[in-house]
């Protein structure tokens, strides 16, 4: 599904190298987790994959189902099935959440040569999906993320994911700012989307989320490199001993 090879990335403005040769292969239907200390390059990885400006790929490649994505526009990556749930979802004053969702769904359909969803069908689907995430009608009407609590923003990200039905989902610290109940809701939302054809890259600082979304593989990212890869037990190791031990062991 997603294959990242020897990815080197530096900040365009400062020239500072953030990713120093990341290798990662995620098969169809798999759930991988990336854990790592603050500043290790987790968000950078997700942004580079999604196509945010400001980063320069100096070496390496990233492909989705064998197709290079690094040369694509962000919207082309989205239409190809890539989705990033942002660590900090963006507020867009003046654009209604519903309008935003419908524009996005139909833009992707159009890009894929599919017919646009009718207003009625869209409404039905969004209401049903919003309900399972405990998102009320008011949240759907309000401008995108404006005045949403931290938890509401994260649930809204999952709603977008559910509506867009991507095949490669990247979740950047979706657990941050969530209380126990919200974490459960979000995890259930994610788990409901798990399927053979859909893969997940779950970025998290803590093991907590991985109790709910069980990963197949866990990677530790430190200082721009994946320094260790293992099974779910690796997350527990981090939880119990922190990153220091693992990093020391790798050194």
């Amino acid at each position: 599904m997603l294959e990242i090879k020897n990815l080197h990335v530096k900040l365009e403005e400062e020239g500072k190298e953030i990713l120093k040769g990341v290798n990662l292969t995620i098969g169809a239907g798999e759930v991988h987790a990336i854990m790592g200390p603050n500043g290790s390059g987790k968000s950078t990885t997700s942004y580079v994959l999604a196509g945010r400006e400001g980063y320069e790929v100096t070496e390496g490649s990233a492909t989705l189902d064998g197709v290079d994505i690094l040369g694509m526009e962000p919207e082309e990556r989205a239409a190809a099935g890539l989705f990033l749930a942002f660590q900090y979802p963006v507020e867009i004053p003046g654009v209604g959440n519903m309008t935003f969702l419908r524009t996005a769904v139909n833009a992707q359909r159009k890009a894929r040569g599919e017919e646009e969803l009718s207003a009625a069908d869209f409404l039905k689907e969004v209401r049903a999906k919003a309900k399972t995430l405990n998102i009320d009608a008011d949240m759907l009407k309000r401008p995108v993320n404006v005045g949403f609590s931290g938890g509401e923003k994260k649930r809204n990200e999952i709603l977008q994911m559910a509506m867009l039905e991507p095949k490669m989902c990247i979740l950047d610290e979706t657990d941050s700012g969530l209380d126990v109940d919200a974490m459960k809701l979000v995890s259930e939302g994610v788990n409901a989307l798990r399927s053979e054809g859909r893969s997940f890259l779950v970025i998290t600082h803590y093991q907590r989320l991985l109790d709910h979304i069980k990963p197949d593989v866990v990677h530790i990212l430190a200082n721009g490199r994946i320094v260790k890869t293992g099974g779910p037990e690796l997350a527990l190791e981090v939880e119990n001993n922190g990153y220091a031990d693992i990093l020391a062991e790798v050194e």
């Binding site: 945010r52 989205a78 942002f86 963006v90 867009i92 003046g94 996005a104 833009a107």
Partner: protein
């Protein structure tokens, strides 16, 4: 005080190209007084305080600069609204294209005929509100209009008008120079909506005086047409009585020069005045100026100004907005926001927000911002699959929407938004 020679000469040159229309005694008196005001003030020049950002030369030249006629190929805005339709072509009333000037609870006639009548209610308003609006800031082009306006509508509303009046201004002559003047009087408790659409002429000078009695409400929505080369100066003068309401929204797209002045006087307690504008301009020939002056002279009134300008390829937007709170106008709630969205580095937004307050128990605020498209929001939208251009348009429309929200009627607001959206699609 004698005018500087340059100004006196320019004024003389402008006035010599015009003749006072003849009419009944009261009309002639009002016109002569207005003419005297122009002669005393002189026509505007770049050095005048409120003309520093906008060059009035094209508006004051003895003859109108040429403006190519533009065929948009689309129906005028509000053509689909159930309204009494009135059409002016290059400033000339088109009886064929207009509906009968009759509506329940509304007296409507043409200025050209009202000014011939010896006794007419319009004499208490014509030139009167314009004259009140000359202090403390002079508006010579409005006085010029009062002196020389050839036609317009004279509307008196005594009840709830069953339908809006929709005026369409067509521009068909390359050198047309139109002076229209409307007088609107809302009697106590009356309700009325005025819709206006279209460019009107190569050069258009329009004054609208609106006298709003106690508890009456006036709604106004206008679009100024898409002709690229037209010039326009408009003056909207209103006086608000107790518990009355004034709501005005203007959409401007294209045009070489547009100066929209709004002068409001809140003279009765608990009155509400909202004035909003949105403009979209593309190219260095686009210059758009909103100049607003709101005087609070009563207790517990609310005024709100919301102006948004989207500018690209060297377009220039100007906002000059003032709230004056007179001594005794306690509990005034005054709000003003003006914002420019620059789609490139060549465009400019110039703002002069002013507050002058002589009462101590008031809540007034103003803000002015200028910026570009929010890159973070743009990326967020694109990451969800929305193509770059569509995403930019969505954000631009969202920026403009705050001004459009000032339109109470949802159908009218939707039509305005649709026009904006189409414009953005064309100018992408």
């Amino acid at each position: 005080m004698a005018l500087p020679k340059i100004k006196a000469d320019a004024t003389e040159a402008r006035l010599s190209a015009l003749t006072l229309p003849s009419g009944a005694e009261w009309a002639t008196k009002a016109r002569k007084e207005a003419l005297a005001r122009v002669a005393a003030m002189g026509i505007p020049a770049r050095r005048d305080e409120y003309w520093r950002f906008t060059n009035p030369a094209d508006l004051t030249a003895p003859t109108a600069p040429k403006a190519a006629v533009f065929e948009s190929g689309e129906a005028p805005t509000f053509a689909g609204v159930d309204a009494l339709k009135v059409v002016f072509v290059d400033g000339v009333f088109d009886a064929e294209a207009s509906d009968d000037l009759s509506m329940e609870g509304v007296e409507i006639s043409r200025l050209a005929s009202a000014t011939q009548q010896d006794i007419h209610w319009a004499k208490d308003v014509y030139g009167v509100l314009e004259n009140r609006g000359q202090t403390p800031v002079e508006r010579p082009l409005a006085a010029l209009n009062t002196a020389f306006a050839t036609d317009g509508l004279v509307i008196r509303v005594t009840g709830h008008a069953p339908r809006p009046i929709a005026i369409t201004y067509l521009h068909k002559e390359e050198t047309s120079d139109a002076n229209l003047h409307h007088v609107i009087k809302l009697e106590e408790g009356a309700e009325f909506t005025l819709l206006e659409a279209g460019p009107a002429a190569a050069r258009f000078n329009k004054v609208t005086e609106v006298d709003i009695a106690d508890t009456a409400s006036f709604h106004h929505v206008r679009t100024q047409g898409r002709d690229h080369e037209r010039r326009a100066v408009t003056g909207l003068f209103a006086r608000l009585g107790t518990e009355s309401k004034f709501k005005s929204f203007t959409l401007t797209a294209n045009g070489i020069l547009t100066r929209n002045e709004v002068v409001l006087e809140l003279t009765g307690d608990d009155a509400i005045a909202h004035v909003a504008g949105a403009c979209v301009g593309d190219g260095k020939d686009f210059h758009h100026d909103d100049t607003v002056f709101i005087t609070h002279d009563a207790v517990n009134c609310e005024s709100r100004q919301v102006f948004k300008k989207v500018l690209r390829n060297g377009a220039v937007g100007v906002f000059q907005g003032k709230i004056l709170v007179k001594a005794g106008a306690q509990k005034t709630d005054g709000y003003q926001i003006s914002q420019g969205l620059l789609l490139d580095d060549d465009s400019q937004f110039l703002a002069k927000p002013e507050l002058e307050i002589y009462a101590d128990d008031v809540a007034c605020s103003h803000g002015s911002t200028v910026g570009a498209i929010d890159e973070t929001a743009l990326f967020y939208l694109r990451s969800r699959g929305v193509p770059e251009k569509a995403a930019k348009n969505l954000l631009t429309l969202a920026f403009l929407a705050e001004a459009v929200q000032e339109i109470e009627d949802e159908g009218l607001a939707e039509e305005v938004l649709a026009r904006m959206s189409e414009w953005l699609d064309r100018h992408n």
